[in-house]
Symmetry: C2
Subunit: 299 residues, 2 copies
């Protein structure tokens, strides 16, 4: 049995995506009952009740909001998609400010689909756009459009490098070093980066990139989830509990600690089987894994 106290779990955060089928009140209840210090929220669960009520639910449970997921998906190449993406991200920034999340995590989007809505048949090649450098350049352009808006509302935009398995369709930012390069034109208070072990564990330059993120003051969030095999056909939802897979949490957590990170550790697991379990059971398991496999290395 693991002995826990609020102190033990004070930095432990339950990302609500880990118990995807819980509404906000259920998720907050599960986290509070298991002794967590914080929750990481997804916009859909916040929107269901509205930002004011969402903020109240979290505060009254004595929890912090460690982050809001997610903005982004703004790599579209045409003006119509770009405009819609910027508008949606402004709404996400508003929501983050309203619930007291000082950080909005951005999954930037993949290569734009083609054909696009409204595209003429003459222009429709029936194939995806393939100019990866152009899509990556657009990430910086969209950030430049969003940063002033976010700054005024006290929200930091946080780039999430994603595992290269998602480069084509979800996130063209593939390494932490690349995220830091894209963030470089902005101040550390404006654009940060998140380390999610699932996405970056394989990176040969991970140690130096985490140290760089710390030195630049951009290490905004630390998320944990494990790489388990075999991958399921639905690869997006094929992550495992911390400790069930191949990731060396002791080492990566030590690097995060040595980079000066003192914030919450969010467990974010996309897994259909875990989603099917009772919320409280999942919250207990996640807390136990955190206490044994992450906390000892967090300093």
């Amino acid at each position: 049995m693991i002995t826990r106290s609020n102190f033990t779990l004070s930095r432990c955060s339950l990302n609500t995506a880990t118990i995807k089928h819980a509404n906000l009140a259920q998720a907050v209840d599960a986290a509070a009952a298991a002794g967590y210090g914080a929750v990481g929220l997804w916009r859909d669960r916040v929107q269901e009740v509205g930002t004011e009520e969402a903020g109240r639910i979290v505060r009254e449970a004595g929890l912090e909001v460690s982050s809001l997921c997610r903005g982004g998906f703004f790599t579209g190449s045409d003006a119509e998609h770009a405009r819609a993406a910027v508008d949606d991200n402004r709404r996400a920034i508003d929501e983050a400010a309203a619930i007291g999340a000082c950080e909005l995590i951005l999954v930037v989007g993949g290569l734009p689909a083609n054909p696009k809505p409204g595209m003429s048949a003459a222009l429709d090649t029936g194939q995806p756009e393939r100019d990866l450098r152009a899509a990556r350049d657009r990430v910086g352009q969209r950030l430049a459009e969003l940063v002033p808006y976010a700054r005024e509302r006290g929200v930091r935009l946080v780039l999430e490098p994603m595992h290269p398995i998602f480069c084509a369709d979800r996130g063209v930012v593939s390494t932490l070093g690349q995220a830091l390069d894209i963030a470089a034109p902005f101040s550390a208070h404006e654009v940060g980066v998140v380390v999610d072990t699932y996405h970056v564990w394989w990176d040969p330059r991970l140690a130096e990139s985490i140290a760089r993120a710390g030195a630049e003051g951009r290490l905004a969030a630390y998320q944990v989830g494990d790489w388990v095999l075999p991958l399921k056909e639905d690869t997006l939802n094929s992550r495992g509990y911390v400790g069930d897979g191949y990731i060396d949490f002791a080492t990566i957590t030590s690097w995060v600690r040595d980079a000066g990170y003192t914030g919450a550790v969010e467990t974010e697991i996309f897994n259909v089987d875990i989603w099917a379990r009772p919320f409280g059971e999942v919250a207990e398991r996640v807390a136990a894994d955190y206490a044994t496999r992450v906390l000892p290395y967090l300093g």
Copy 2:
């Protein structure tokens, strides 16, 4: 219709894994009939007929051997596995020399499985080893053991960086830059690298790493295959024909050309549906894709 000549396809090579169910004679027949200049061979198809006969089959068809796949899988952490892996790689080097392949491609292996054969129950944690840096360090150690043997037989060892989706179980070398770092202690004639578009297309540093490989004289092979979605549950065998997916072959091929590469371009596609098609049909399709999507950018 694409007009072809032997000149057009002189650098075009059919990796036999693309028509996995063909034996060596069938694969060579299909490649020769479609006008290819070379074939990339897998050891199993060579071993079935023996190296002497394999060499004769390829030569009499007027083809070159662009490479032999594959050695490697030498990241095991215990002495028994290390010894067995070195022995097997020496046999692969012998086979490469015997069939006139001057290059042996190495898929280095993933994190070692645990439990290991013969491990006592007391030591068996039932979990994989997770020390990724140690596994990566062992790649360099095994190379140091194998390079003298390969050099004496005129065979260059070629490191294959693999997509991070395979880091846990097949290849801990995840980027071209990392492969070049591991190759650095050896001469360019001893250890080279292969660029396989499927594995490296997402890498934000790909342009500079290809240029570096060229400048160092280590760019030993260029393999093409496309990233298609959705991934199949059997992710290893979920690759697509060149042009069917997200990869920008014009750009990557231009980088390979500008790096001074003048060798064969092997199409290597692992895909169960393609394996089920007639060999000649696949060979024709691959040649057509090469002629339209790769050759124009090859210089």
